[in-house]
């Protein structure tokens, strides 16, 4: 349906999109709107799905679909990437335009931001020109009320000539009005436009008057039809991509039809006579749209308070000022880490003792039923033990980190980070939006790589993709936290110790960010030469985050997802390790053979064979690196009960760890190949094995180099 490989045209959005109707009577509904107006929130509330939402423009980068039932009909909702316009300047805009024009939706819901209605109307007006089955949904009414902005919905509906409803998408019950209105829109075959909202300058209208009859005559023979006024307007000013779309939709002879060709030439000459070239025409069209939007808003939107956004401005002055902008970013970063570390400590120990108590019970059970020794070993000592480690080490920090991060995201702080960091990124010839993808990388690098689609310039997008791995994802945080607290935190417990860990972790992260800048710059000067292209960045209004929902959502969407993936990888890895530790070739186990093989090289890097092996086996998911190290050491004979960090440190020290080893593990954890999921995502996003190889080699070589230097320097001190 419309959105095929060829239709989308760009490799970045290469997944095929097909509408999945469940019944013939189902209606297909497009959910469109400007970026960051709450489309995904509306989508989630209606479909019960969990599209990622957050207060920054550009989260939804490709179409998503969901299903909902309202009264007697089923609706397939398609969440379209947010766009300001349908004139297709970027990949997302092309996706949006193609779906609205050629995807044959039964109706289009246009979600608008009540606090910024005028700007939103640009897209509304463009959409009304294409389709008559439009429903305008003025969302974020609660925010508007808070800012004392009043909107006369009835007058708006009158002036636009389409139904208008208001919603507070975050409150589900407010959506019933939307669905009732949608049902009405779907029921009628087509809404006759009572008003022609946009009037263009006379010369353009003259040209349209010549074209429109010819377009109507041509379309009489077409199976599918497009709005004739819209199509006429496009004929005046059309790029090749759109031309191809229209040909595919209407028929081959669209470009060759003699009547149409002639009308097109006459119309263009009328414009040229008036001195209107392509650029001037575009300006006139956009000005007419913007002017109409402004006129419509007069009397519809009433600002009851002059300084309706005073709070936002005050907050911006603090969060982005010359003196406080950077320190506050740093404090937020450190604060999040401190809360994560100090909050995760106790539950982690509780979980670990609980899960290992279960292990003992399982062992007892196996012994009671006289299960063979190998079965007990493989399942309990192999699979279960690694699982228990992964869960107890990962779950608590994630369950704290993700909600905290989501709170900042929901409030609208992320775009301010991009704003603050734009200058440094520009110096590296990159895009400020890379700061946003970098932040997403903290959660999951694969998600960060997909998020790079918000960057328009292909060169800058590639820079962001290749360097995303330098911020540690959530799978690597536990490793970093564990090793930092084990080897570098002097105080044994309490607030001071967790503050110290947080400060150290912040420094590690800052190192990662510094390396992001350094490698971005390096790539800009070598493989991806170029200068920073221009762009605009929207700083959305701050919104009060909904704490309850944030916690639920981040735990269920992200934590469970990431943990699930880790567990899925950890179980077979646990089995593999156990097998490797227990299958012997000659005198020694396979595990020892492998570790011994890697050992000489690993020693150069300040690691040992076991650690390097753990990183290699951790390729599917970084979370399992520390559990593998522990498993392997324990399998090598030094069997001790592991209950606390101190005992873990004992085990590591017994295996020859020093602070240099710990430092090298931290460095290598920060700087090594991306996990398999991330690499596959990079392959998908770049469409090239070459760039995937670069993404693999760049951090790996850098990591090996850094570790070797650190180890060499470290040897002097030991």
């Amino acid at each position: 349906m419309g959105l095929t490989n060829g239709a989308v045209g760009l490799q970045v959005l290469n997944s095929r999109f097909e509408i999945q109707r469940r019944k013939d009577t189902d209606h297909v509904i497009a959910l469109a709107g400007n970026p960051n107006v709450g489309k995904s929130t509306v989508f989630n509330a209606l479909t019960g799905l969990n599209q990622h939402t957050g207060n920054w423009p550009g989260k939804t980068v490709s179409n998503a679909q969901g299903y909902c039932v309202w009264k007697e009909y089923g609706y397939v909702l398609v969440d379209i990437p947010g766009t300001y316009s349908l004139m297709a300047h970027s990949a997302e805009e092309e996706v949006a335009r193609n779906f609205i024009c050629f995807g044959d939706p039964d109706a289009i819901i246009l979600v608008c931001d009540a606090t910024c209605l005028e700007r939103n109307l640009n897209l509304v007006l463009q959409t009304i020109e294409i389709s008559s089955k439009v429903l305008v949904c003025v969302n974020l009414m609660d925010e508007a009320r808070r800012k004392h902005i009043q909107i006369d919905l009835e007058l708006l509906s009158q002036r636009l000539g389409v139904p208008v409803v208001s919603t507070v998408a975050r409150k589900k019950q407010s959506l019933s009005g939307l669905m009732d209105a949608l049902e009405r829109v779907c029921k009628v075959d087509s809404i006759a436009h009572t008003v022609q909202p946009v009037q263009y300058p006379q010369a353009v209208e003259d040209a349209l008057q010549i074209l429109e009859p010819a377009v109507c005559t041509y379309q009489e023979h077409c199976e599918k039809k497009l709005n004739s006024r819209w199509l006429s307007l496009q004929l005046l000013d059309m790029d090749e991509a759109l031309e191809q779309e229209i040909v595919a939709y209407l028929g081959e002879n669209f470009l060759t039809d003699p009547l149409l060709k002639e009308a097109r030439q006459t119309a263009k000459s009328i414009l040229l006579e008036k001195g209107i070239d392509q650029q001037r025409l575009k300006d006139l069209i956009v000005s007419a749209l913007v002017g109409t939007a402004q006129q419509i808003c007069e009397g519809v939107v009433v600002y009851k308070k002059e300084a309706y956004a005073a709070f936002d401005r005050r907050l911006d002055r603090v969060l982005t000022s010359r003196f406080t902008g950077y320190p506050i970013m740093l404090i937020f970063l450190a604060l999040i880490f401190w809360l994560t570390i100090s909050g995760a400590n106790y539950p982690s120990q509780l979980l670990s003792s609980g899960l290992f108590w279960i292990q003992d019970q399982l062992s007892a059970l196996f012994a009671a039923v006289h299960a063979p020794q190998w079965l007990h070993g493989a399942l309990v000592l192999g699979v279960y033990r690694v699982l228990a480690w992964v869960v107890s080490v990962m779950l608590p920090p994630m369950a704290i980190f993700f909600p905290l991060f989501t709170l900042l995201e929901d409030a609208g702080y992320l775009p301010r980070i991009a704003y603050n960091l734009d200058q440094p990124f520009k110096r590296c010839c990159a895009c400020g939006k890379q700061a946003l993808t970098m932040c997403m990388g903290f959660g999951c690098n694969a998600a960060g790589v997909v998020g790079c689609r918000i960057i328009d310039s292909p060169r800058e997008r590639l820079l962001a993709i290749l360097t995303n791995n330098f911020v540690p994802c959530n799978g690597r945080f536990p490793t970093l936290i564990t090793i930092l607290s084990m080897f570098f935190v002097i105080a044994s417990s309490g607030i001071i110790s967790s503050l110290f860990s947080a400060a150290l972790l912040t420094m590690v992260i800052l190192l990662g960010i510094a390396l992001t800048f350094a490698t971005t710059k390096l790539l800009s000067k070598t493989l991806l030469r170029g200068v920073a292209s221009s762009y605009t960045l929207e700083l959305p209004p701050y919104r009060r985050p909904q704490i309850g929902r944030v916690i639920v959502r981040s735990i269920f969407d992200r934590t469970v997802f990431v943990l699930g993936r880790a567990v899925a990888v950890a179980a077979p890895a646990g089995l593999l390790i156990w097998l490797m530790a227990n299958i012997t070739v000659g005198e020694t186990s396979v595990l020892q053979h492998c570790a011994a093989f890697l050992d000489p090289f690993a020693r150069l890097m300040g690691l040992d064979g076991v650690i390097l092996l753990a990183f290699i086996l951790g390729f599917p998911a970084n979370e399992i690196v520390v559990p593998i190290i522990i498993m392997t050491y324990m399998a090598q004979g030094s069997l001790i009960e592991l209950g606390s960090l101190a005992q873990m440190k004992e085990l590591f020290v017994a295996n020859g760890w020093t602070w240099v080893t710990a430092l090298c593990v931290i460095l290598f954890s920060l700087l090594h190949w991306p996990c398999s999921t991330t690499l596959l995502t990079i392959k998908k996003e770049t469409g090239s094995w070459k760039w995937t190889a670069v993404a693999f080699l760049l951090p790996t070589l850098l990591g090996i180099g850094c570790c070797m230097v650190t180890a060499a320097i470290g040897r002097i001190f030991i």
């Binding site: 700007r119 401005r313 950077y326 603050n420 734009d422 520009k426 328009d456 605009t536």
Partner: protein, 75 residues
């Protein structure tokens, strides 16, 4: 020459015309930066660039090399 860049934080100005071409021009038009649009400069980023502008109710950050190409009306 009086450009958007010359508008200091806290000051207002009215757009005369855009002197950018291509993608950036269209992007600026999309956010409603047409002739006679009133723009207010809200502040500059900690490192001095980009600056944030209030354009038709939305806050948009624009880099200096782009804002220099937005000609404003003389007051």
């Amino acid at each position: 020459m009086y450009s958007l860049f010359d508008i200091k934080p806290g000051q207002h100005g009215i757009v005369q015309r855009l002197e950018t071409e291509g993608a950036m021009r269209r992007r600026l038009l999309d956010i409603g930066l047409v002739e006679n649009t009133q723009v207010e400069c809200l502040g500059r980023s900690p490192s001095g660039d980009p600056s944030a502008y209030l354009i038709r109710g939305a806050v948009i950050a624009i880099r200096s090399e782009d804002s220099r190409k937005i000609r404003m009306k003389e007051v």
